[in-house]
């Protein structure tokens, strides 16, 4: 079992925060480490994203070096389901640390397409779903059961964008809502299958749906198009034994707080651009845990002292909020470990 000099929360300690019951003096620390995982083992995002051994090795190094209170298995989290359904992902070779992605035009669904009988990928065979599932299995085996490990999955709207392309989806939202509903349902089918693969491997789940942010999609459209499918997914995950579901939508999601609470996710995100007061008031009322992010530019370019001061302030702002989680936006590849550890230290010091 890997060890870390930085104390981590047990599964039950995490659960008590997620269920808004925590009186833990040290806030949970959950940095968003995806492409940066490769940095811990001297590999690029493209390398670790295609090899379960490397991905597991990178996640275990993340655990050892940072002592986060949860791990997320995944690198380019918005691509896997779409790739398994047939979209082409661009990888970068050599020492290029760019993040793999789907180039415009490499989508697999066409506007208006009938998806009733469209094949749903098999998570044990198709694309890189087996890579993440196998990595989750390895990490679970190494760390043991008393720790929160999440398999990264796309939210339904972000997956629909990867499958169809952003412009076509946004236009279809107005031109052809029936098709969009069909596409959202198809996305949900893929997500459920992938989720079952992770669950069988011993992982819980974390949903990312940043492309449904109100910076792109109106709150009304979120409610009409995305909410029902997200509710259905979260209810399904509960039937599979996953009761704590984080829903991560980056950007300023303050305009859709109430709708996000209605999804049933018990762990939400107030990004660094979101309004903490509004978010924490709403989540206190609804008893939802809330992660607060620190901006990635600060973590990448600031000094540890500057980062520590900001983290300390965020923890102070949270006050006695029982479901508080100290987080970060996605950490850039080359960020110094000491900068991330400054946030962990602020959490530890808050408890002393």
């Amino acid at each position: 079992m890997p060890t870390t000099p930085h104390p981590t929360a047990t599964r039950s300690e995490v659960e008590s925060t997620l269920r808004f019951e925590s009186n833990r003096s040290i806030p949970l620390f959950m940095p968003a480490i995806y492409e940066h995982k490769g940095h811990f083992i001297g590999k690029t995002p493209s390398q670790i994203s295609r090899d379960p051994q490397l991905l597991a090795q990178a996640a275990l190094k993340e655990y050892e070096q940072l002592g986060p209170d949860a791990l997320a298995i995944g690198v380019d989290v918005y691509n896997l389901e779409a790739e398994a359904a047939g979209c082409e992902v661009t990888y970068y070779e050599g020492d290029d640390t760019s993040i793999p992605g789907i180039k415009p035009g490499n989508h697999v669904i066409k506007p208006g397409q009938d998806l009733t009988n469209y094949p749903v990928p098999n998570p044990l065979k198709d694309g890189r779903m087996p890579v993440n599932i196998e990595a989750a299995r390895i990490v679970r085996k190494e760390i043991g059961d008393d720790y929160w490990i999440r398999g990264a999955i796309s939210g339904p709207f972000s997956l629909a964008i990867s499958l169809l392309g952003a412009e076509d989806l946004f236009i279809s939202c107005l031109d052809d809502p029936e098709f969009v509903n069909g596409l959202m349902n198809y996305s949900a089918k893929i997500i459920k299958e992938f989720a079952k693969g992770y669950i069988d491997a011993g992982a819980d789940l974390i949903i990312f749906d940043s492309q449904a942010s109100p910076e792109l999609l109106s709150p009304t459209m979120y409610e009409e198009i995305v909410l029902p499918v997200t509710q259905d997914l979260i209810a399904f995950f509960k039937t599979q034994g996953v009761n704590d579901v984080p829903l991560i939508i980056g950007g300023n999601t303050t305009p859709i707080i109430d709708t996000l609470i209605d999804t049933g996710a018990n762990n939400l995100l107030c990004d660094f651009t979101g309004n903490w007061e509004e978010w924490s008031d709403a989540c206190r009322g609804a008893k939802r845990a809330l992660r607060r992010n620190i901006a990635p530019q600060l973590i990448e370019n600031g000094t540890p002292d500057e980062i520590y001061a900001v983290a300390k302030q965020e923890i102070a702002n949270a006050g006695d909020f029982p479901g508080f989680i100290m987080g970060t936006a996605v950490i850039p590849f080359a960020t110094k470990t000491e900068n991330i550890l400054a946030i962990k230290q602020a959490c530890i010091d808050a408890g002393s």
Partner: protein, 213 residues
């Protein structure tokens, strides 16, 4: 007498067929095409830009308005070019997402709104090295180069593009930057001439940069 308010409204509501039909009717009636373009199409799109800025409209509505605008442009553009070699263009902008970055929603919105405001847009796509920006700027005699990045890991490449334009002796071309992690301060840091915080602001910036050239 043309009813520009109606044409504006059809652009705003994204009614492409109506925009195309009415634009054609006005052309057939002999109304000057530059007037139809400015008072009918561009004026309609500028309201879309304003409402997008203030969260009255969102990306889907902007996209269908831009599609309607394009339907009208398809009618008037060939006539404008035949008339005066497209001197009606507000300026030429080369737009692209920088190397290592595959995101294009923001860039495409800027392209659509800038086109709707009368700029000639050369969209070189995503994941573009500085050589492609330079090649396109030279070929199309660009007034402005617009660079987009969504990732903190790719935005440093904007400086590389700015520097290479200087090295190539193209320092007189205005450089504009934008994207979620980019800021006014960052634009100054990399030596760009301006920063657009969203699509409408980028169009305002392009107007300013062209006026100062």
């Amino acid at each position: 007498m043309p009813d520009y308010a109606q044409l504006n409204q059809f652009v705003y509501e994204g009614k492409a067929k109506d925009v195309q039909r009415i634009t054609q009717e006005y052309v057939d009636e002999g109304i000057p095409v530059d007037q139809i373009l400015n008072k009918g199409l561009i004026a309609g799109m500028s309201v879309v830009g304003e409402d997008f800025k203030y969260n009255i409209l969102y990306v889907p509505e902007v996209l269908i308005a831009a599609r309607a605008m394009k339907a009208g442009l398809a009618v008037v553009k060939p006539l404008l070019i035949a008339q005066d070699g497209d001197s009606s263009s507000s300026g030429t902008v080369v737009m692209g997402t920088v190397k290592g970055d595959l995101h294009d929603i923001g860039k495409n919105l800027v392209c659509m709104m800038a086109e709707g405001a009368g700029f000639t847009i050369i969209d070189i796509g995503v994941d573009q090295p500085y050589e492609k920006f330079i090649e396109a700027a030279k070929e199309h005699k660009a007034d402005i180069v617009g660079m987009s990045a969504l990732l903190t890991t790719t935005m440093p490449y904007m400086k590389k593009v700015v520097d290479e334009f200087e090295n190539a002796g193209l320092g007189d071309i205005k450089m504009a930057v934008g994207g979620a992690p980019v800021s006014e301060m960052y634009a100054d840091e990399v030596g760009a001439d301006g920063y657009g915080s969203d699509a409408p602001s980028s169009v305002e910036l392009f107007h300013k940069l062209c006026a100062s050239a």
